[in-house]
Amino acid sequence: MKLALGPLLYYWPRQSVLDFYADVADSSIDSVYLGETVCSRRHELRLEDWFEVGRVLAAAGKEVVMSSQGLVESESDLKTLRRIVRQAADGQPGFRVEANDMGAVRLLTEAGVRDWVAGPTLNIFNPTTLQLMIDGGATRWAVAPEISGAALAEVRAALATPIETEVFAHGRLPLAHSARCFTARHFNLQKDTCEFRCLAINDGITLRTREGEPFLTLNGVQTQSARVHNLLGDIDDVQGRAEVLRISPQGSHTRDIIDLFRAVLDGMRSPVGALAEARALMVEAPCNGFWHGRAGVDQYVAA
């Protein structure tokens, strides 16, 4: 089993981001996804800066993957996407790419790139669609979080050739994307003049029901779960259905969470014990419903 660090979904100050990845370089993580996938207005790190972070991580022995934008709207978004594809095609710096929309799939295929990751927003729900991606050069499938463990096993079982599979194992779930910025809306601002108010909100803004129950998280144009999807307690069930576990960066304790997953994979901790230990490291209560084919918000414990 490999551990992967997903793309940073929040907007942190430049120095915090650089410090964060310096720490990651020193961790036991295997793969690191880099790049801005949420909002093209965010610019603390430019694409070149992300490449530089990638070079440092690669030098530390990490596999580096450049994630493409989830919602491509403008010609300038397409320009960024083309640069991400080009660096993979011409080997400068030659990082693998995670395709997060079909435009990225088209450009990667056209450029003859044969080793990319089919990202979680591609809506791959069945073997026929996954096979189309494999034929186009996909060599890893990062599964959409809403697909259950049983459903992804069925997809894999029907494939002619197996594909490395990655599941979202820890973090607030990315649930939806909009043209509207909900953080700007909260501060009564428009997106075009948002004053970058999402900067330094480390884990997004919690949205609660009128009973005070944490429900969702506002992260700019992205809406996440308030709860932390956590598969630490389900690792025995995940093994055999996936080869890569994705941990999503959070404001603090990301390194501790990586260590905890590593300890479970190495047999040093029990899954149940690790999940109990993780409670102090999470920003909110855990959930794992999606993996068990239930409402995502559920925390399911087998009877």
């Binding site: 435009g103 799939v105 088209r106 026929t128 069925e154 043209a179 919690t206 918000v297």
Partner: protein, 334 residues
């Protein structure tokens, strides 16, 4: 100027007939199962009704489009391919699909069947649309409700695929096909089950605090006495953020782009879609009548086009929350 097609919703045979009678160029409908994104009880078409609907529309020179725009999974794949076969045999004018695997099946098995890319396909750039054209020969794409007019114009300039946009009706605030909010709250999603915030998870409760609406137990909104209690679509509830209670994601409102018609025509939009297969035949009648009148006026005298107050009044009557918005076409909305 190119003629814009009016594409109207039909959740039932009476809705289809009234849409045709009041000037729809196309009607779109779905089978009575999870193969389409309006899988609500009491809605949609049995195979015999599809045949009758097609006969009715074709006799009057109109088209019928069939939505098969949810994502099949490994276990239920045969039901979706069977639906494609049924659609092709029934003589529909096009099928509206979201899943690439299903498109591959349709293109291979029924090469003469016209394919439209559903809004659920989440294609927001010409690069994404061209992916579906090159691979499966799609002839039309329905754009998610996220792009500005200038961005839509840029898409049209860079693809040979016809572009259809939403003109009126319920407004998804999230990118269609990329929203798992309903799945998170209820386990059922538009992508896989064809329904958002499905009725079987809804509870209405009269309490001392007011009427409360819940989705799978989660409080979506609470209404004071005399306040009109809306359906608990989860992105249109009131929530608390930093101790402020408000419509944190979106108000209950409808999209209405009537005033943008001249611009939409100028940039080369080929079709306008009216949302609302879950709405009544009376809604379909009213909305179709207004949009037919507006499109005819535009066609006759583009330079003189003006939205009449009577049209807006008619449309506001059937809008969610009795209000309307230009959505993402209007920059401040974002």
């Amino acid at each position: 100027m190119n003629r814009i097609e009016l594409v109207c919703p039909a959740g039932s045979l009476p809705a289809l007939k009234t849409a045709v009678d009041h000037g729809a160029d196309c009607v779109y409908l779905g089978f009575k199962d999870a193969t389409n994104a309006r899988n609500f009880s009491g809605l949609n078409f049995e195979p015999a009704q599809v045949r009758e609907g097609i006969a009715y529309a074709h006799a009057r020179g109109r088209k019928v489009l069939l939505a098969l725009n949810t994502y099949p999974q490994a276990a239920n794949w045969p039901s979706w391919t069977a639906a494609i076969d049924r659609a092709a045999e029934s003589g529909v004018d096009a099928v509206i699909l979201a899943d690439p695997g299903l498109m591959a099946y349709a293109a291979r098995t029924h090469p003469q069947l016209r394919l439209h890319l559903s809004v659920q396909g989440s294609a927001t750039s010409y690069e994404a649309i061209e992916f579906y054209r090159e691979r499966f020969g799609i002839q039309r794409a329905v754009l998610p409700r996220v792009l500005s007019l200038a961005q839509v114009e840029n898409v049209i300039a860079n693809t040979a695929v016809e572009i259809e946009v939403f003109g009126f009706g319920g407004l998804c605030v999230m990118v269609e096909g990329r929203c798992a909010l309903s799945a998170y709250a209820t386990g059922e999603s538009p992508n896989c089950n064809g329904a958002c915030s499905p009725g079987r998870h809804v509870r209405w409760e009269e309490t001392p605090r007011g009427m409360e609406t819940r989705l799978n137990g989660i409080l979506i909104d609470r209404f004071a006495n005399g306040e009109r209690a809306g359906y608990p679509t989860l992105c249109k509830g009131r929530f608390e953020v930093n101790d402020e209670t408000y419509y944190a994601l979106e108000e209950p409102t409808s999209l209405n782009t009537l005033e943008l018609l001249p611009e939409l025509a100028r940039i080369g939009i080929r079709a306008i879609k009216i949302e609302g297969r879950q709405r009544s035949p009376a809604y379909v009648t009213q909305v179709t009548r207004v949009w037919r009148a507006a499109l005819d006026r535009l066609q006759a005298a583009p330079a003189a086009f003006q939205v009449t107050p009577a049209w807006m009044a008619e449309l506001n009557k059937v809008s969610e929350g009795q209000s309307h918005t230009l959505g993402a076409y209007y920059r401040p909305w974002k």
